[in-house]
Symmetry: C2
Subunit: 400 residues, 2 copies
Amino acid sequence: MSTATTERYTVISADCHAGGSHEQYRSYLDPAYLERFDEWRARYRNPFRDLQDDTRSRNWDDDRRLTEMDADGVVAEVVFPNTVPPFFPTGVVIAPAPTTREDYELRLAGIRAHNRWLADFCAAHPERRAGLAQILLNDVDDAVAEIRWAKEHGLAGVLLPGVAPNTLEPLFSPTYDPIWAVCAELELPVTHHGGGSSVPDLGRYPWTAAMYIMEVGFYANRALWHLILSGVFERHPGLVFVLTEQGSSWLPETLDRMDALHEAMVAGHFGGELGPSPFVLPRRPSEYFAEHCFLGASFPPPADAEVFHRIGIDKVMWGSDYPHREGTYPYTRESLRRTFAGWGEADLRKVLAGNAARVYGFDLEALAPIAARCGPTVDEVATPLETIPADATSPAFTRA
Amino acid sequence: MSTATTERYTVISADCHAGGSHEQYRSYLDPAYLERFDEWRARYRNPFRDLQDDTRSRNWDDDRRLTEMDADGVVAEVVFPNTVPPFFPTGVVIAPAPTTREDYELRLAGIRAHNRWLADFCAAHPERRAGLAQILLNDVDDAVAEIRWAKEHGLAGVLLPGVAPNTLEPLFSPTYDPIWAVCAELELPVTHHGGGSSVPDLGRYPWTAAMYIMEVGFYANRALWHLILSGVFERHPGLVFVLTEQGSSWLPETLDRMDALHEAMVAGHFGGELGPSPFVLPRRPSEYFAEHCFLGASFPPPADAEVFHRIGIDKVMWGSDYPHREGTYPYTRESLRRTFAGWGEADLRKVLAGNAARVYGFDLEALAPIAARCGPTVDEVATPLETIPADATSPAFTRA
């Protein structure tokens, strides 16, 4: 074989999910909550298919996880949560915020157990895992303290919970400035993952789930304009913000709309009916995006990847969404061929690894030996996929 | 002149705004509320520029309104509200729902005064005006009673208020079935106008208005999937629904997304995590749109008009948005030339008048003499616009 055929890509997934079992979380939980945890656990019925069957051990079983990711050609991962932490009503990326002080305190104990489990999970393979600490937004002081704990214990970033409208302060509220400040100070990227919505109870009507699916993208995407247009990046020049698993094609159009709105504001085209003295950013919204923001593009089909060039090749990070059903596992190699066969190697190395290394602090040299063993070859990815695997269900295969 | 050069279009605006002055509303108000009205009026400060200066009489001055619309080439209008009714905090299309019983009762008296004013305003020129009755969603029995009153007094449809999330029941709630039922029974189209949002207080932060502008489209558009996907048109086969002043380009893509979601639901691709026994519509979402829904496309720039063919030429109604600053007045003729110069006459007659006549009950024969006097000629509209009027501010001119 020539050098070209054996040269391999380093593939980092900027979107994977993991979590402890309830037994594991129990061992990380503040003992003051153990009795209530056992009561809660006895009552809790998990609604997730993939946390009931034999696939669930992918969340915590080191051997299984590494074996499967190796076979899939993925050498490192950004670790989002997946399992249901103690005292949560459902998975964390879709759970509405706690509404009572008691519920808040219990759930805070729950995410602390997760974060402590996660620090150990990542420390077992530190070159391969960048863990994101969970926080809650109900109490900013508590959130700041948890973020400091996360930094001290090797976690690589902070995950914002989904924010449903009119329950907590919106993300554009200055209430959250101490969170942005500490993340900038500690150089922890803030990541927002699709999943929140304005649908508080998915089982309320038989059609509520359909509403959720229609709206979940919007409720993720809006974090971008909430932060940019309220001046968060103007006040926190060191802050890095990542939008993950919430599509790609909406982004250029949204930046255009923000820039047009900014231009209108600069020109003074605002009536008093929209509030007194509107705040006008000193720079264009797209400039803040270019300097501060990144997109975690999970299981991108070809049409999404076409948009990456408009967004900026330095701004986009590929993700597998392992171990979710909509993710590319076990067909990541095929998915890369379908989506990226026509791409140049230099650009693709950024999207598959370079950008994630820069944002989340992966050491590409430490990953090189693993990639040399199991990464997809450059020639392989450059070969267009002729046949989609028959049992592939990911949008990476089913969408144009 | 040949016949061709003198033949004219009948132009109906499916989106105009009018309302009484506070003095007029006072005369229509239930006398039980007069004392409180005078107190409220003494305190109320109107935030709208165009309700403070000398343009405000366009809302109620018959002579001025008809003279200006004639000059603009528009012979008839669907009348949405504009001024601030008694006891409202702001204009009705952007006002959040009342949150206390007392506020609700006062505002109900306010919109009843408006509806009674509107019935007289329309009766003065019945062939030229189709008025939309305002309702509130806080009390469904009250809303149904007001809708019956509106039908008996010649109003042509019902305007839904904007629904902010998590304050009232969402539009997909079965709570509202009696409203859909009475509108279907009385053959009154239900119209939803852009303006609601999840931003309850536009003046709260200096950047809140920017959030409103970024999100107002979504909070309007979502009424479409809330009604279709919850089966409203399945339960109410006679119901007609109109989406007005909320863009056009989002619509085909949204119908595609709904159809794809429906296809996935039919195939059973729903996990238990999204709710038990999801409701699966017996027909595709786009079929309900085709049978029940219409788009009120206000001040469309050329790119919006290109989408009309994808939406369906029988489904779209042009609107001027008179007397708003973003509307096409006084340059409706120029706007029609810019947007529609390349169109065929038969299609354009539907978009400019035929569809609105069908939906809101205008009598095209009764309008013909007025159109013969002041409508734009077919040849005029077919002549591409070379120079945009220097003081034109409508998106009809400023957008591609």
